[in-house]
Amino acid sequence: MAKRVGMEVAVAVAEAVGQCDIDMAAVYPITPQSHIAEHLSDLVADGKIDAEFVTVESEHSAMSAVIGASGTGARVYTATSSQGLMLMHELLPIASGMRLPIVMGIANRAVSGPLNILNDHSDIMPQRDSGWISLFVENGQEAIDLSIQAFKIAEHKDVLLPVCVNIDGFQLTHMVEPLEFPDQELVNKFLPPRVPYATLHPSKPVTMGAFAMSDYFTEMMKAKDEALKNSKKVIIDIWDEWARMFGRAYKPVETYKAEDAEILMLTMGSMGETAEVAIDALRAKGVSAGLIKLRLWRPFPFEEIRAAAKNAKKLIVTDRAVSFGGPGGPVFSEIKSALYHEAHRPAIYNYIIGLGGRDVTVKDFIGMVEKVIPYNAEKTVDTYEFWGVRE
């Protein structure tokens, strides 16, 4: 087994990307992603990886540059956060529409205003419908593993879609913690060189991102939707392969003490392990509580969510972003949709937590579960609550 080393997670993500034989990266630095940008540019400048690091003047340019480079057949990487991702927004559906296997790390951070540099999921949520595969990690090891897997998923001939790996800003990016790097030879075996479906080349002209009016546009959208839905099978296969080669297993939906739990809680991202500690404490007090951790945000794992929630009486969904004026947080909406047609479904409650870096502790998670214990599960609850808000 590989040796555990202590390293800051953002630096480790750059190291992991450096193991992937990338040809080109264009990364514009932004807190809390900056250490990814800095370390990746170090790796290139020091000659440790044979890649082109394109310095750009904005995130819009970074995404434009990786789209162009990916079109030539290169393996490409970018990373961003918050306002940077918002600036890329215009280009994200173009990347997926052109079926380019770009990999992007996102150091998730709140979006302005007011200006805030700390962690929540309000940067990725507005990108939900851009046609990207969207994965969430809950610790540094997963950030390494998924950053490598993302290339294989994106480049698979049955997928050919861009992938973003969501890595909570600060809580993950700025944490020094124990990490294992996969053996380089095994990574080379797991991730062979990209075989592009088509490439831009002056001597063999092709058109990518062509014009489509009402005669073809619907078909293109349907094709993208199908590709994204079908990617789940490939993702699961690739995770199985990873487990066989590297010993760490991944699933679209992870559960913790959930099978027999009457009350389930659902988290996405870095709060999952803190919530596990709360579940242990609740179990010790005799509360039948369990946890669901959503790893795959797009494509959304409907069947897995239904299977995980089927025995519960109550389900608490936590969201780290707000859908202003909407039915609740974005994760809550999806979970409700997933369970709507189920004959036996739990009562679902929604807490908006951890906005703009507000800490969520073990005590908070215990409090959320204890709050819903006396609720009558038969009664529908249509509202959501900002946990711990001062009014």
Partner: protein, 182 residues
């Protein structure tokens, strides 16, 4: 699990210290976290940084509010910041100061264990700079005792290269010279 809160000023190297400590502890086969107080930092402004060390995998990722140990890199922060805020009953306070532990106890009206060492004096003498962040790791290791000073060697050498030995010497002096109250 041991949880430590570091107090310093931006630029005094508290974040470097928590990184070195975590890297060294992990290198010694333990589980550890090191993280800054999240947010923008300004040189000279009071800042905090945090360490967790355990024998088993650490799951909690929230902040540290009830530390076992507080270490103060800059004694001028006492009175400006409530350095003993949330310190667990039986928790220990370590201060970089030439004063005695009893003097600090009196200043803070604190009845727990206080340990003091003139880290800045040692750093000035051994390294020629008044920056005591690595020096005070020696003081911390003496107080928490989870691993020996030798565990720091590789991490310090990796980080500081040719000036590593001076850091290690200063660390050792703090380890040996720290005074711990009852």
């Amino acid at each position: 699990m041991i949880e430590v809160r570091w107090h310093g000023r931006g630029g005094q190297g508290a974040v470097t210290s928590v990184e070195l400590l975590a890297v060294a502890a992990i290198g010694a086969g333990k589980y550890a976290q090191g993280f800054p107080s999240f947010g923008p930092e300004r040189r000279g402004a009071p800042i905090a940084a945090f360490s967790r060390i355990d024998e088993k995998k650490i799951k909690v990722r929230s902040g540290i509010y009830e530390p076992d140990v507080v270490i103060v890199l800059d004694a001028s922060l006492i009175g400006l910041v409530n350095v003993i805020d949330g310190l667990k009953p039986g928790g220990k306070l370590i201060v970089n100061t030439p004063k005695t532990p009893e003097e600090i106890k009196k200043e803070l009206n604190f009845s727990g264990v206080v340990a003091t060492v003139d880290g800045t004096g040692i750093a000035r003498k051994e390294m020629g700079v008044p920056i005591a962040n690595t020096t005070m790791i020696g003081a911390l290791l003496k107080v928490i005792g989870v691993m020996g000073l030798d565990a720091m060697k590789e991490a310090v050498e990796h980080r500081f290269g040719r000036i590593a030995q001076k850091n290690l010497t200063a660390m050792k002096r703090a380890y040996e010279e720290i005074k711990i109250s009852n």
